[in-house]
Structure formats: structure tokens, C-alpha cells
């Protein structure tokens, strides 16, 4: 399955044309995809914030932001600028070092996880062999940042919020990892590229959502819980804890939390679309379209078409899921802490374990459908 645009190769060849050695060309290449993905993530956050404001307004029969740009599209930028120029306050009795390190520790693992998000056959930063496992490992660092900021704020609401956040993300990590494991079992690989390629056989029919419906629902619930979105936003439950671990934060440090939670939401949506909805795959296989148009699959036109369709499909699927998440946030009540832990430990954990067992059995019984 080695087709698709290889931008890195062409870029390196292009630089070599100027007489640069391949090592120098590689070093010039390395930061480019990282920067691109970082910009994509931040723009994605701006879009999501705008969507959140507009959809919540629609859900509550308001108009929402309207004056900043057409339909208020510049509102998130205004929000960001406001946070950027606000005074950076560290409370007098707070622990300065930990107070500053907390938000950074929350944001960095989330951004690092974008390393493995593929937008096309060769359109990702690095096809690391451990792929999806890297994301699971990185997302387990986040609770430390939450605990750190909760403790450093020297405020009982912050501490309680931090403890709740850590407890929540520890308990939902296990069913999340188990449902990913079922996918990995079917793919025989941890790499996100392989996971998408395994679903690309027959377009929409071969997506993992049909073979892993239970896993899909478990993963989605757990991803929402990991993002602390509303049915599960106990760590920052306004009525009980003011704003949880964010209570004492202002200015750019608060913005880091804000950015982190939205980047995490988009990342989760992207991963759901990669794991269960065929990633960059078009509902009808591109090979079929190429055959229909009587074009060879390696024609430059088809290559560019496939790459752009891939990016559009990945983003479209992800934003569809973001839309569902936003709708859920503005229409569902918050669960209680005991309901949250009950759901995680007594319902999702056994169900995802059973799902893993059944997947393993089906893989052995029907190797042609469930990956041999």
C-alpha cells in the first residue's frame, strides 16, 4: 500500500537541488510538519470555540456572538487576545513554581499526542511503531499536571477539583485503553496508519464502527470523560467547586488550560474518526472512483485528489464528533461523582473487557472479517 504523496521526499529532493546535503535538508524539513500541525491544532481550537458559542446559543434560543466579524467568527480570537493581555496573577500564598508548571504539564502531552494523528497515507508527523499506545501513555501524564495546579493554588476548591480530575482520568483510562486494544487486536499493529488502512477495503462498509459498535460507544464516553466535557465535567463543577483546579488561574495560564481542554477534545474526535470511522478514507473507496474515471491510481491528479479528500474527510468526521460533543454538553445534566465512578468501574470496565474477549474470539473464528 505504498502510494500517496510523499512530501518529505520531494522537499528533500528540492533542497538537494540547491546543493544542500541530505542531512541539512532533513533538519530543515523536521520543524515544518510540527509547525503545521501546531497551527492546525490552534486554528481547530478557534473553530471549536466559535462552534461551541454558536451551538450553545442555538440550543438556548439565543443568537450568540454576532458583531466580531461575520457571524462572530472573530470572537474566539478576541477571547484569546483578551486572555493574552490580562495580568498574570500568582496568589500570594500559592506555590509559584508548581503553579506555573501545572498548566504546562497539562498542555504539553496533549500537543505531543498530535504526533500520531494521520491526515493521509503520508500526511502525519511521524509514523512511530507504537502509534496509538503513545497517545495512551502521554494522556496518563495529564493528571499529574492537574494535581500539581490543584495543590499549588492553595485553595480547597482547587485541591478538590484536582483530586477529582485525577481520579476521573485514572478510572476512565482503563476502559479507553481496553477498547483501543480490541482495535489493535483486529489490526495486528499499533500504528495509526495501519489502523486506517485496515478499514479502507470497502469504503464505509469496512469501517471499524460496524465491527466494534460497543468499543466505539465505550471509547467515546471515555474520551468525553478524559476531556472533562459536560456530562463528566465534575472537576470544574461550578455549583460545588467554583471552577475546580482552574479557580485561582487568570490570564495566559488559564488560557493554557482552556487551550489544552479544547485541543484534547479535537484530538479525541480525530482519534475516534481514525479508530472507528475510517480516518481519511472516503465512504466510497478512491480506487473505485479512479477505475470509474479510467485513471491510473498513480496519476498525479488522483494523488492530489486523494490527499485533499483525505484531509477533508478526517477534519469533517472529527468536526461531526465535536458537534455531537458540544450538543451533549448543552443538553445533558452533569452526573454525580458516585454515578461517574460507578459508570466507569462497574459498567464500562466489564463491558470493555467482554468486548476485548469477544473480539479475540471473533478474530479467531472469522479471520477474514476481523483481521487474521
Amino acid at each position: 500500500m505504498e502510494y500517496g504523496l510523499d512530501l518529505e521526499y520531494s522537499f528533500n529532493e528540492f533542497l538537494k537541488g540547491f546543493g544542500l546535503s541530505s542531512e541539512i535538508a532533513h533538519i530543515i524539513w523536521i520543524p515544518l510538519p510540527m509547525l503545521l500541525v501546531l497551527v492546525a491544532a490552534v486554528v481547530g481550537v478557534l473553530v471549536t470555540v466559535w462552534l461551541e458559542r454558536k451551538i450553545s446559543a442555538a440550543a438556548q434560543q439565543r443568537i450568540g456572538p454576532e458583531y466580531a466579524g461575520a457571524l462572530g467568527v472573530l470572537q474566539p480570537i478576541a477571547d484569546g487576545l483578551k486572555l493574552l493581555v490580562k495580568e498574570d496573577i500568582i496568589p500570594a500564598k500559592a506555590d509559584g513554581i508548581l503553579f506555573t508548571a501545572g498548566p504546562i504539564l497539562v498542555l504539553v502531552p496533549v500537543i505531543l499526542s498530535w504526533l500520531i494523528v494521520p491526515f493521509g497515507q503520508n500526511l502525519l508527523i511521524s509514523n512511530v511503531g507504537i502509534g496509538i499506545f503513545l497517545w495512551i501513555a502521554l494522556s496518563s501524564i495529564q493528571p499529574i499536571g492537574l494535581l500539581m495546579s490543584g495543590y499549588a493554588s492553595n485553595n480547597k476548591y482547587s485541591l478538590l477539583g484536582g483530586l477529582r480530575a485525577a481520579a476521573q482520568s485514572i478510572s476512565y483510562e482503563i476502559p479507553l485503553a481496553l477498547s483501543v486494544l480490541a482495535i489493535v487486536l483486529m489490526t495486528n499493529s499499533l500504528s495509526t496508519i495501519d489502523i486506517v488502512n485496515q478499514q479502507s477495503g470497502a469504503g464505509i462498509l469496512s469501517w471499524n464502527i460496524w465491527r466494534q459498535p460497543v468499543g466505539f460507544i465505550v471509547f467515546w464516553i471515555c474520551a468525553l470523560a478524559e476531556c472533562e466535557r459536560l456530562p463528566f465535567d465534575l472537576p470544574e463543577a461550578e455549583e460545588e467547586l467554583v471552577a475546580g483546579y482552574q479557580t485561582e488561574y487568570a490570564g495566559m495560564k488559564f488560557a493554557l488550560f482552556y487551550l489544552g481542554s479544547y485541543i484534547n477534545l479535537i484530538l479525541s474526535a480525530l482519534l475516534v474518526s481514525i479508530l472507528y470511522l475510517g480516518g481519511w478514507g472516503f465512504p466510497i473507496p478512491v480506487e473505485l472512483i479512479a477505475k470509474f474515471l479510467n485513471l491510473p491510481i498513480n496519476a498525479p491528479f488522483i494523488q492530489v485528489f486523494t490527499a485533499s479528500i483525505g484531509i477533508v474527510m478526517t477534519v469533517l468526521k472529527a468536526y461531526l464528533l465535536v458537534f455531537i460533543a458540544i450538543l451533549l454538553r448543552w443538553t445533558t445534566p452533569r452526573v454525580r461523582i458516585d454515578q461517574l465512578l460507578d459508570l466507569g468501574w462497574k459498567f464500562l470496565l466489564p463491558i470493555s473487557l467482554a468486548n476485548l474477549l469477544i473480539t479475540a474470539g471473533l478474530k479467531l473464528a472469522f479471520p477474514q472479517f476481523f483481521g487474521g
Partner: protein, 199 residues
Amino acid sequence: MSIAITTQIICFTILSLVILIGALGVVLLESIVYSAFLLGGVFMSVAGLYLLLNASFVAAAQVLVYVGAVNVLIIFAIMLVNKKEDLKPINDIKSRRIISTSICLTLLSLLIRVDLTNVWSLSSPQNSIGEESTIRIGEHLFSDYLLPFEVASVLLLMAMIGAIVLARRDVMSKDISTGLPVDQELIEKSSEPMLTNKN
């Protein structure tokens, strides 16, 4: 020297410095919270060393298990049980310090001796497995290391059941430490929600 090797040396230096300073900080710092967070930093740097050795799966597992589980639990425990305890002064502190210093120095000299006498350079494997290591680890776990693997899981199960028994006193009729029958009413009272007690 190629760029790759230079990068590797720079990364190795930074990582080992972080490990050494962090580990010293874990032992020497007064504040137990700082020690716990530094421990997390040390675990992360060890994961970085594994990455430098091309063992990405082991590195990710290190982060998941040691940082994501062990360290989070340690911090959790510290924050839940935030008891200020005045330590009793020890009488013969001087002689104790001399003894412990001499023991540590002996150990250090032994380690230095080991370092100098042993031949560390292994013949590097002909073809580095790299990304395939995940598969290799799986194969080994389910063939020649099956017994230790299963024993470890039984051990973890025992620890888990023990934790549940300790946490849920109400399932037992006798107190573990004193052997006296447990006053069930007391447990009921302590587990009642606070709001109903007020009325």
C-alpha cells in the same frame, strides 16, 4: 561527527543530568510534595533514555506505568493524607550518621570497582529490531517468560483484593488489629452523609 550522533549525545547529557539532579532532589528536599513531583520527572527522563536506546515500546510503558499510575498514586496519597507530623529528635544522631556514611561509601567504592573491572561494551546486535520490539516482547511474554508473567498477575490480584478488604472494614465482623468485634453502628454512622446528620 554526524548530526544524529551529536543530537544523541546532547539528549543523553541532558537526560542523565535531569535524572541525577532529580533523584538527589527526591531524597534531599524537605517538602514531600516536591519530592513526589520530581520523582515523576525522573521517571520521564528514564523513559527518554529508553527512547534513545530505540526501545520506544518500553519507553511508552514506562511513562504509562510509572508516571501515569505509580507516581499519580503517590501524589494522590500525599494529597489525601496531608498530615503535619513533628518528627522526634534522635539522640545519637552523630554516630548514626557516621555509620550510614561509611556504609554508603563502601557501597559506592564497590560500585566504582564494578564499573572499572567489568567489560561493558556488548557486541551490538547485527540488525537492530527497533519498531519490531513490540512483537518480540509479546512473543517472549507468552513463551519463555509466561510463568513470571502469570505470577505477577496473581500477585497484583492479591494486592487488589487486600486493598479492597482493608478499605471496606464493614465486610468483616472482627477488627483486624485488635480482634475485637466491630461496632457495626459506628461504621454506619461514619459513612452517613453529612447533610442528614445536621437535622
